[in-house]
């Protein structure tokens, strides 16, 4: 779409009818009235409180009920102000949303509990910032509103008071008024922009608060991703178990039956059947290892202790195992611990030339600490070629954990995994 820009005098007048200018004008004028009301209420509360405190300090006189009233006001004032400020700030944010289409996220406030509920808001920076906006708004807001109204009404006002000027001043009087009117859209927008900037800073969330929120949401989405990947692995494991594995067992069984039944056939036929049978059995074993590598079913059902004793049993060297993890950790955490041990023991078997190893998994508070130690020749590292430790270190890091390898040349090697376990 092409924007047809009028030329000549129309170009000067055009901003006067621009929606944005009128939006800004409405916004500023509405802000003027709102700020006058809210400011008056806040100042009133402040003044009443101050009066009550001063009266108490100077010694109250008169009716005996008065000191009671002073105490009530002195105590209730600070308690009532934050909710009031929050309410007014919400109104102001609503004004920005409705009239300018500017979304300002409300600061989050922690209500606290018990008597802290009363004073907690005063400890929050956001309360002070919002209070500042509500105190400044009546002054600057009314001033800004007045300027905007003056600009728009400049010609009208000039005409009303035209009798006060005469002669050569006449042109200047109306010329100035015309300039003010032509400037009105820009003034309105400028003031609305300044108001928006102030509101973002004072009514919105602080920088630290925004960062905190961002970190929380990132941590949450990262944890969700880890869980999703884990769930997916479990799903694939289940699918393979229910599908391919059953078919392969059936195939191997049928070949086994054929092998047992057809003993009277020629050696050639028997050889083929035997080879097919062996092949099917080998495929079955391979698939079983693969599926276990995805996610061992026993880990879900019985936890780390049972699953790790399986890993340790399959290791080709003697491994001592100690597991003290109660209560259990989440499935994703258990999976990381399980695969870390599994991978570490695979590395020990492949590279370490170790004679024995030890696996310890312990829950210490809300951390799960797993160590795999061997008495091999050392020199291992997370980045070492052909190790799956790199990926496991990443998986551990994804849940705010760590995987470290200490392996001086000559050994011993210790792989330690620290992961949160809530």
């Amino acid at each position: 779409m092409t924007d047809v820009r009028p030329t000549g005098p129309m170009a000067v007048l055009r901003p006067l009818s621009s929606p944005r200018a009128w939006q800004a004008t409405f916004h500023v004028v509405a802000g003027m009235f709102l700020a006058a009301t809210t400011g008056a209420v806040i100042w009133l509360v402040g003044v009443l409180w101050w009066a009550a405190v001063v009266s108490l300090v100077e010694g109250p006189t008169g009716h005996w009920l008065l000191p009671v009233l002073y105490v009530v006001v002195a105590v209730l004032g600070p308690a009532a102000l934050p909710p009031l400020v929050q309410f007014f700030s919400a109104l102001q944010r609503e004004r920005f949303r409705a009239l300018l289409g500017v979304e300002i996220a409300a600061p989050r406030h922690d209500p606290g509990s018990g008597w802290r509920r009363i004073f907690r808001p005063w400890a929050a920076g956001s309360t002070w910032r919002q209070l500042a906006y509500n105190l400044l708004a009546p002054l600057l807001g009314i001033l800004g509103g007045a300027i905007v109204v003056l600009c728009w009404a400049a010609l009208l006002l000039a005409a009303l008071w035209a009798d006060r000027v005469s002669g050569p001043w006449y042109a200047l009087w109306f010329g100035g008024a015309t300039v003010l009117l032509l400037a009105a859209p820009w003034v309105a927008r400028g003031i609305a922009d300044a108001d928006t900037a102030a509101a973002r800073r004072l009514l919105g969330r602080g920088h630290a608060e925004e960062l905190t929120e961002r970190v929380e949401s990132l941590a949450r989405s990262r944890a969700d991703l880890v869980d999703a990947a884990d769930t997916e692995r479990r799903r694939i494991e289940r699918d393979l178990h229910d599908g391919v594995q059953q078919r392969l067992v059936s195939l191997a069984m049928n070949l086994g039956m054929a092998r047992a039944a057809f003993t009277d056939r020629s050696p050639e036929v028997l050889g083929i059947i035997a080879a097919a049978h062996d092949e099917a059995t080998a495929a079955l074993a391979e698939l079983r290892d693969f599926v276990r590598g995805l996610h061992p079913a026993v880990l879900n059902d019985w936890g780390l202790d049972a699953a790790l004793s399986g890993v340790v049993a399959r290791a080709p060297l003697p491994v001592k195992l100690h597991v003290h993890v109660a209560p259990r950790c989440s499935p994703s955490i258990e999976a990381i611990a399980y695969f870390a041990v599994s991978e570490a023991l695979t590395n020990v078997a492949k590279h370490a030339q170790a004679s024995r190893a030890e696996v310890v998994a312990e829950r210490v508070g809300d951390r799960l600490i797993v160590t795999v130690t061997d008495d091999g020749r050392g020199g291992a590292s997370v980045d070492g070629a052909g190790t799956g430790l790199r990926g496991l270190a990443q998986r551990a890091a994804a849940v705010d954990g760590s995987l470290t390898v200490v392996s001086p040349p000559g050994g011993p090697t210790t792989v330690t995994v620290h992961i949160p376990c809530e």
Binding site: H241, V249, M253, M257, A260, T281, V291, A313, L321
Partner: protein, 213 residues
């Protein structure tokens, strides 16, 4: 010999039924889940139950739990559990009630038809049949207790005992003389502090100790 079979995969249920029938067993019922298994066992009172570990509805350890119920309610009925993976934990659960008439085998073993049928017959006759993989896992776990007193050879013998072999079976498997096996067995009893009463009973006790149940 009368068998009740529980296996959720239609394919395997059919295959196993044929295999068992060909092997001289009479399959009196073949069911797809644990509930129907318990009903069928009550109705048919078979000699042996062959049950898959993972079955509906949760596909975790329904088979093991059903097997435990059967062991408790019908101590005379032998139970052989088949599993895609053998895990020590399932085995210890299964063996905690009684070690006679119990089998726990990797599902792959059905491919070796005659070995599988032998194991079933052994279990049906009141023996045990543990998959070598389970036994290996148990051996690791028990490495740091009384079992450490056993020499590696004695551990091998105990492992075969746990798999349910007789002295003759152990003699064959280890390729040693019959008297040597007897000596190992008696050493095992001594080292595990098992007094000489009834030999078969001591065998069970030794295996139980070995399994740590």
């Amino acid at each position: 010999m009368r068998v009740v079979l529980a296996e959720d995969s239609v394919l395997l249920r059919g295959g196993l039924t044929k295999l068992l029938t060909d092997g001289g067993f009479e399959v009196v019922a073949a069911v797809p889940d644990a509930d129907q298994l318990l009903t069928a066992v009550d109705a048919h009172q078979p000699d042996i139950v062959v049950v898959d570990v993972r079955m509906p509805p949760t596909h975790t350890d329904e088979g093991i739990r059903a097997a435990l119920v059967i062991r408790r309610q019908h101590p005379k009925i032998a139970v052989c559990v088949l599993s895609q993976y053998v895990e020590e934990r399932y085995a210890t659960d299964l063996l905690s009630v009684d070690t006679s008439g119990v089998g726990y085998l990797l599902k792959d073993r059905v491919a070796h038809v005659s070995d599988f049928l032998d194991a079933l017959r052994r279990v049906a006759a009141g023996g045990t049949a543990l998959d070598p993989e389970v036994v290996a896992q148990l051996l690791v776990r028990r490495r740091d207790d009384p079992m450490q007193r056993l020499t590696p050879r004695e551990q091998d013998v105990l492992q075969l005992m746990a798999e349910g072999r007789s002295n003759n079976g152990i003699t064959e498997a280890l390729k040693v003389s019959h008297s040597a096996v007897e000596k190992y067995v008696s050493n095992i009893f001594t080292k595990l502090d098992l007094p000489p009463t009834d030999t078969d009973h001591r065998r069970v006790l030794a295996v139980l100790k070995y399994l740590g149940t």
